[in-house]
């Protein structure tokens, strides 16, 4: 009598048991707070002894943050610009590094270990301390021949070189900016390199063998085999880079929301700010999928 369920039904039920903890968390620690956050963003909150009460203010907080808060709009713009500027550079750098690490050469294991190190070292406080460190500055100066600011000097040379090729001015600025932030970019690409590398390793060697039998050069097989197979991974990595910027140590929105909500106890305004940020991110992701998602062909490999 007990076992009226078919085998597949019972297996399905077991599946629900496995995802049950996640469903709990998703409902009570994500969806509910998500809706509450929207409600809080449209209210003024009063903390009482036994909890808190909400007083509806409509879109007042949203109007406030755009019109009267001096920091919000610049911070939001800064966060979005940083993010958009970083995505292409990080993607290009990490595919390059992954291709480098995928070849066989002596000392590959050690090199890989070093390249993934930024994942471990990505501590916000440590990065912040290092970015304003006097000793580091001195050591870098010691390495340059002239005690002048050598970094700018080399940037000038590069800039002149790029200009002489008559490359678009915007692109020149972008490249110079990327080069001067090389440290930040490398330290943000650990996971992306890992993902690209895993994808590269999973491309069957037989594809390349077939191509080289037909007389394809390395360059050709990169663009005809490697690149097409990596396109879905590009999208995944782009999304990961965006996600990673949410909690980056120099994300200005993060600080602003924290000081507004917990420092000044304006929970409503803080929530509204977070929602504004979420809406901008959602717009970017939507655009990304619209432009890119359709073109992807998934391969079975």
């Amino acid at each position: 009598m007990r076992n009226k369920m078919t085998l597949s039904e019972r297996r399905g039920l077991a599946g629900w048991i496995f995802v049950f903890p996640w469903l709990l968390g998703f409902t009570f620690l994500l969806i509910v707070p998500f809706i509450q956050s929207m409600m809080i963003s449209m209210s003024r909150i009063h903390i009482t002894r036994g909890g808190y009460t909400l007083e509806k203010v409509g879109f007042g907080n949203y109007v406030d943050m755009f019109t009267s808060d001096p920091e919000y709009v610049p911070s939001l713009i800064e966060a979005m610009v940083n993010m958009t500027a970083n995505v292409p550079v990080i993607l290009i750098f990490s595919i390059f590094a992954a291709a480098l690490l995928n070849r066989k050469f002596p000392g590959r294991t050690l090199t890989r270990a070093v390249f993934f190190l930024p994942v471990i070292l990505a501590s916000g406080v440590v990065l912040r301390i290092q970015s304003q460190d006097k000793m580091q500055e001195m050591m870098q100066m010691a390495l340059s021949a002239s005690e002048l600011n050598s970094q700018q000097l080399t940037s000038y040379n590069l800039q002149a070189l790029l200009r002489s090729y008559e490359i678009n001015e915007f692109l020149v600025e972008y490249i110079i900016d990327a080069v001067s932030r090389i440290k930040e970019i490398i330290s943000a690409s650990g996971v992306q390199i890992l993902v690209f590398l895993a994808a590269l390793e999973s491309i069957p060697a037989s594809y390349y063998e077939a191509a080289s039998m037909e007389g394809a050069t390395g360059w050709e097989s990169f663009w005809k085999i490697t690149f097409p197979m990596l396109v879905p991974i590009f999208l995944a990595n782009a999304v990961y880079t965006i996600i990673d910027s949410f909690t980056a140590f120099n994300n200005p929105i993060m600080e602003l929301v924290k000081t507004t909500a917990f420092g000044r106890s304006s929970y409503g305004l803080g929530s509204a700010m977070a929602w504004g940020y979420f809406a901008s991110i959602a717009a970017v992701l939507f655009l990304l999928f619209l432009l890119w998602g359709r073109k992807i062909e998934y391969y079975d490999y």
């Binding site: 469903l23 968390g25 998703f26 050469f105 993934f116 000793m135 949410f246 803080g270 977070a274 959602a282």
Partner: protein, 319 residues
């Protein structure tokens, strides 16, 4: 003869090409490795440097007077004993719980067929793209006035539930339900990994009458060690370095990142208002503190990196 010459020529050309390719790769690898390792080296070098060496113009990287004197004030002010234990305890607990919960959930998504499975998987990935800033305020209030359907208030007779802030419970709850830092990513890693394990493994167990959970524990988990190591390492390190969640849930308690943040200024305040401290000496202290913070995960990484480095494809990060 001519043929032989040609073969030799081609061989030579190949050799030259290989040489330059190797040289090029070597230079690039050295360059990038330098940028990555430079902060570590400079931390190591300054942490053991005697303050005298700061003013010695001949000392740049290798200190002339090795010393441990920098560690003493730094460790006292950071209360290294307590903060280290707190950070280590929290990171270990969270990492262990997350490995358990994410592998459990990932297995459910990898192996069973039920209605809405694909929707759930899509939602798992969706949780990643919601900025934690959005839900941070309600979560704060949720744990400040924690209650399950009013039951706790009923039992204790007090309004507003219990205050779970400044304890590890918020972290454990987030981790156990797959809602911690980047847990969507871990679930994804496990799901991909389990999908690659041959079904025959489990079928044998089922034929012998094992339940799904027993099969998972006895058959699947022992085969999933590479994925577990990767998730454990990520989870430990990200919790260790986290300031975001701990900044909200543990406002009173101190973990290493917060201790480091305020360390230098505390030492300066202790020295007195009229004493203006040398920025180079402060930098010495900061580097020592930073080494104390990144040291433990660095050691862990050195021990675990071979799993990490050699089994990326096997760990199934990409399907």
């Amino acid at each position: 003869m001519i043929l032989n010459d040609r073969i030799q020529q081609r061989h030579l050309r190949n050799l030259i090409f290989k040489f330059f390719e190797g040289l090029f790769r070597f230079m690039i690898i050295i360059g990038i490795s330098y940028i990555i390792l430079q902060p570590v080296f400079s931390m190591l070098s300054t942490a053991f440097m005697d303050p005298v060496d700061i003013y010695d113009i001949t000392v740049r990287w290798v200190p002339k007077h090795f010393t441990l004197t920098n560690f003493k004030p730094v460790m006292t002010v950071m209360e290294y004993g307590t903060t280290f234990t707190a950070s280590l305890g929290l990171s270990l607990i969270v990492a262990a719980v997350q490995v358990a919960s994410c592998s459990f959930i990932g297995y459910g998504l990898a192996r069973f067929r039920f209605k809405g499975k694909n929707l759930i998987f899509a939602l798992v990935l969706l949780t990643l793209v919601i900025p934690p800033q959005t839900i941070m305020i309600p979560l704060f209030l949720h744990y400040r006035f924690f209650d399950v359907l009013g039951i706790i208030s009923l039992i204790t007779g007090k309004e507003g539930g219990v205050n779970l802030l400044d304890s590890f419970w918020p972290f454990i709850m987030q981790a156990a339900t797959g809602m911690g830092i980047k847990n969507g990513l871990y679930i994804f890693i496990f799901r991909q990994f389990f999908a690659g394990i041959p079904r025959s493994f489990e079928e044998a167990a089922y034929v012998d009458g094992a339940s799904a959970i027993l099969t998972f524990r006895k058959v699947i988990l022992p085969n999933a060690v590479p994925a577990m190591i990767i998730v454990f390492l990520f989870s430990f390190v990200w919790q260790w370095n986290d300031e975001f969640y701990s900044g909200i849930f543990l406002q009173g308690a101190r973990l290493l990142p917060m201790a480091l943040q305020t360390m230098a200024s505390t030492i300066e305040t202790m020295a007195g208002i009229e004493v203006k401290m040398d920025p180079y000496y402060i930098s010495l202290l900061n580097n020592t503190g930073a080494l104390l913070v990144v040291g433990p995960p660095l050691l862990l990484y050195i021990f675990l990196q071979r799993y990490f480095v050699e089994s990326i494809a096997r760990a199934g990060i990409v399907g």
